[in-house]
């Protein structure tokens, strides 16, 4: 491919996804400037390896690169350390069927969830371990199907389903706890 043809194709297929790329990076890095850096780096890599993108959908392919860049940066110590991540303390990943372990909290948590404000929702999402947060962000905010998410994170669909399910249970607990703390403080 000539340079001009490559550029035209890259512009058409990948440049329209800058918002999606930035949004995912922002959620993973939890920092504006670092998210920008990650997106810049991801586009650089995407351009370099563009020829290897054959027959794949452009957006999941790009977001997979964004995700890799973000996690590499986080491992190298850039970005917010995930040490405060809210892990499921009882079981390892994929050890159990989705939804079977973390018991469903039931009402009266409904009122707590419904009155959660923006700050609490963001704080609770940020407190989730990376694999749960990215699955929920891709599902609820980006609106991707389980199959697309599986492509982006490089995991089987069953794993994605499990992470979304467990992530929601954990998030629900965090929201309810946040509300309780607010209530007792008031």
């Amino acid at each position: 491919m000539t340079d001009a043809v490559t550029r035209e194709r890259f512009e058409r297929l990948l440049l329209p996804h800058m918002d999606a790329a930035y949004s995912l990076a922002r959620w993973l890095m939890r920092h504006d400037a670092l998210a920008e850096e990650a997106v810049q780096e991801a586009y650089l890599r995407a351009f370099r390896f563009f020829e290897s993108m054959r027959g794949e959908e452009a957006r999941p392919w790009l977001l997979g690169i964004v995700r890799n860049v973000c996690y590499t940066a986080l491992q190298q110590g850039r970005g917010t350390a995930a040490c405060d991540a809210f892990e499921d303390e009882r079981h390892g990943e994929d050890a159990v069927a989705p939804g079977a372990v973390v018991s469903f909290p039931i009402n009266p948590e409904l009122a707590a969830i419904e009155s959660a404000d923006r700050e609490l929702v963001h704080r609770s999402l940020d407190a989730l371990a990376d694999e749960f947060r990215e699955a929920l962000v891709l599902r609820e905010i980006h609106g991707y199907s389980y199959r697309e998410i599986a492509t982006i994170v490089g995991a089987p669909i069953g794993t994605v389903m499990s992470r979304i399910s467990r992530g929601r249970r954990l998030l629900q607990r965090l929201l309810a706890d946040g509300i309780e703390r607010k209530d007792t403080a008031a």
Binding site: L14, M18, G99, K182
Partner: protein
Amino acid sequence: MNCRDAAKIMDAYADGELELANAVALEEHLNVCQRCRGIERNLGALRGAVQAHTGLERAPAELRGRLTQQFGVQRKEDRPAPRRGLLLGAFAMSALALLGSAAALNLALHPARAAPKIVYHINNSDTAGAALRTLNNHLEAAPGIKVVVVAHNDGIDFLLDGARDDKGQLFAPIVRRFRERGVEFRVCQNTLTRRKIETRAIIPDAALVPSGIAEIGRLQSEEGYVYTRL
């Protein structure tokens, strides 16, 4: 289907990812199980809360411009404009958002424009001092601008009674002088509640708003404020 099986597939059902046979079986179970219906409602509320309070973040205009120029097809109009154009042209808003000083420069170069309104976002106690110094420069470079400072999370610390800056000076009189120059300070009530800080610990020159983040959004969407954070 029992409740345990229902719990396993509830999320996939809500996401429209369940094959028909399982979906039908789950719906039959939901018809007869009040407990699982409660769980389904909670799930719906959770998804609603997340979707209501989040959204796709837009890539900053400056980043978009850079990527388009770097990786897009080179067109004549894409070439970098003369130096001044970078600040004054299409990038003015993003430069303004990135740098308070850029905002000041832009205003200094455009005195004829209506005085803009700017919301300073402070969410970190470490940057509060620097933000106030920048704000001071900003006011000197662009007299007549309207500034609201919204503080939440650790960013409220400088508005606590008795708070001092890194040189040991009290913040309260500094804030008072800004107030006299028309700057308003607003503190997030949610932060106070969460951190169990009493309202009276906040200096009188700062006002309370229910949610700092919501206030920042409101100022931008309803009152035409431009967002700045250091």
